[in-house]
């Protein structure tokens, strides 16, 4: 084995654990477990208020924004739309597939389950086609739940997951949330040309 194929066992174990969860208790239960886990993580994030939207953007740049802390720096694509160049689970996927070539069995079923309408995905405005892998069920709800800890000028913010792109380049769009956010799908499509994830932020009056 060359140095380039040294496994990070944490990554491999995590991916295989998801596979085991799917086998042992089904995709729906596994999805619920990962989402609950993500929400529990978000609960531990401290609340923060930014005086203005510019302050919020500055916090992304200097990586003090709680969302940035868990997913990396997002690109502000104008208005209230953001793109994320790197999927936070990218290294895990790369590490796994460089040795085992394919992601574990059952991941497609899991992803389909995440994209199905459910109370929890409605509550956090995620899924609905924007899921392209099981990792989206961790990342997207976690980001939305962390957003609940953030205020801008004392006002709450909400996030709509608009789309996502798999490592293979396949784009997934959440038509429901694109419509709810009032963003043109063509804009989302264009952002996903150069990004792995696309979402919008709304300041709640």
């Amino acid at each position: 084995m060359s140095d380039g194929k040294i496994l990070d066992i944490a990554h491999v174990s995590f991916l295989d654990m998801i596979k085991i969860m799917i086998t042992m208790s089904g995709a729906a239960s596994a999805k619920g477990t990962l989402i609950r886990n993500a929400l529990k993580t978000a609960e531990r994030i401290h609340e923060v208020d930014y005086a203005t939207f510019d302050d919020y953007l500055a916090a992304i740049e200097n990586a003090t924004n709680p969302i940035t802390m868990v997913e990396g720096k997002a690109t502000h694509a104008g208005g209230f739309v953001f793109g994320l160049q790197l999927c936070p689970f990218g290294p895990s996927i790369k590490n796994y597939t460089q040795v085992f070539e394919k992601l574990p069995e059952g991941f497609a079923d899991f992803t389909a389950e995440f994209n199905k309408t459910s109370n929890v995905t409605d509550q956090y405005r995620v899924g609905e086609g924007a899921g392209v892998s099981p990792f989206c069920s961790v990342h997207q709800p976690m980001r939305s739940a962390i957003a609940e800890k953030i205020t801008i000028g004392g006002k709450k913010i909400v996030i709509h997951q608009l789309g996502c792109k798999s490592g293979g380049g396949k784009k997934g769009f959440a038509e429901k949330w694109i419509a709810a956010a009032g963003v043109d799908k063509a804009v989302v499509d264009k952002i996903l040309d150069n990004h792995m994830c696309c979402y919008s932020l709304r300041i709640v009056d």
Partner: protein, 388 residues
Amino acid sequence: MDSHGRSKKILIVDDEKYFLLSLVEGLSQYADTFTTLTAENGRAAIGVLESTGVDLVVTDLNMPEMDGFGLLAHMSKAYPGVPVVVMTAYCTPEIKKKLSEFGSLKILEKPIEFKELVDSIHAELASNSESYLRGITLPAFLQLLEMERKTCTLRIRSKGKVGFLCLRDGQLLEADNGNGRGDAAALDIVAWDETEIEISSVCKIRESKIQASLGFILMEAFRLKDERERSTAPETASRAVDAAPAAEPPTTFTEIIAEPTTTQSKEGNMADLKELLTEFTKLQGVNAVCLVGRDGFLLDSIAKTGFDAEMIGAIASSGFGSSESMGKQLGKGAMQMSMIEFDDGPVLFSPVGADAIFVIIADKDANLGMVRMKLKKHTKDLAVAAAV
């Protein structure tokens, strides 16, 4: 009291001894209005009916020796004017509505609410004293058989005519009115007046010779009867059947035999859901019920004692998923129910629709039979309420 100043007599028929005792005790406060007699099955009830005049019979359907159907059939011949209240665990509002359309039969849903029983007794005794035509009618009897999925053969007598109706698992399979068989014969028999019913718990017919559903036959028979009574040129029953394909009943009947609506608002569903969940917690030994998404997120719950419903939902999803995976691995088919027994009572999981699980947390003394019956009855309603 009747017009002669005599105390009225009601007869309660049920094989649950303690249930009878508790009813007799509860009803003793109305001793100035009526006297309460009891019997533990249909045969004992007939003995009471023969030995003393009874003004109202309140009966269960499932009993040993002679069940409620046997009793009702006997009463259709020997006591056609005595009103009857039937107690059952299987009734739905739709069935109640249908039964009210086909006669005066009153249904009480088990577990019985005492106030409702008292109100029903008073109402039935009052209407009887006003000389309404009371007692069991053939259409109402057939509805009960369908509701309880009864297998039997009925021998029907009316004004010198004799006919037979064969049912398996509550489905009408064959009819014979002495002149013919099939749908036309069923339509004819169902419309007979002053029927006397005999019931045998055997059905020799295996394959259905009847195309239309029982609900359709009942409605169509009444329509034809009405038409015959109004018209000098009556339409024949067989023509009517030919004109109305069994699979597509006329729209006028669709409303009556339609499934419960599934187009309620979410708010309406949630209000209904609370009522549904409450029904379960009224059952003996049931401490808590939770409706949980397959993903383990709680949809709603009701608990008599405090517990972390969110956590129970999450664990239930995992436990249910594991049981389902076990079934898949073993090729056992779809999961019906899973029960885990603990020192202090069982926990039951049951799938409701494709997206939810119903969790019942019970005590050691829980009446699991009643829980299962209730669950069977309400699974569809729960699935509708759980739908996102």
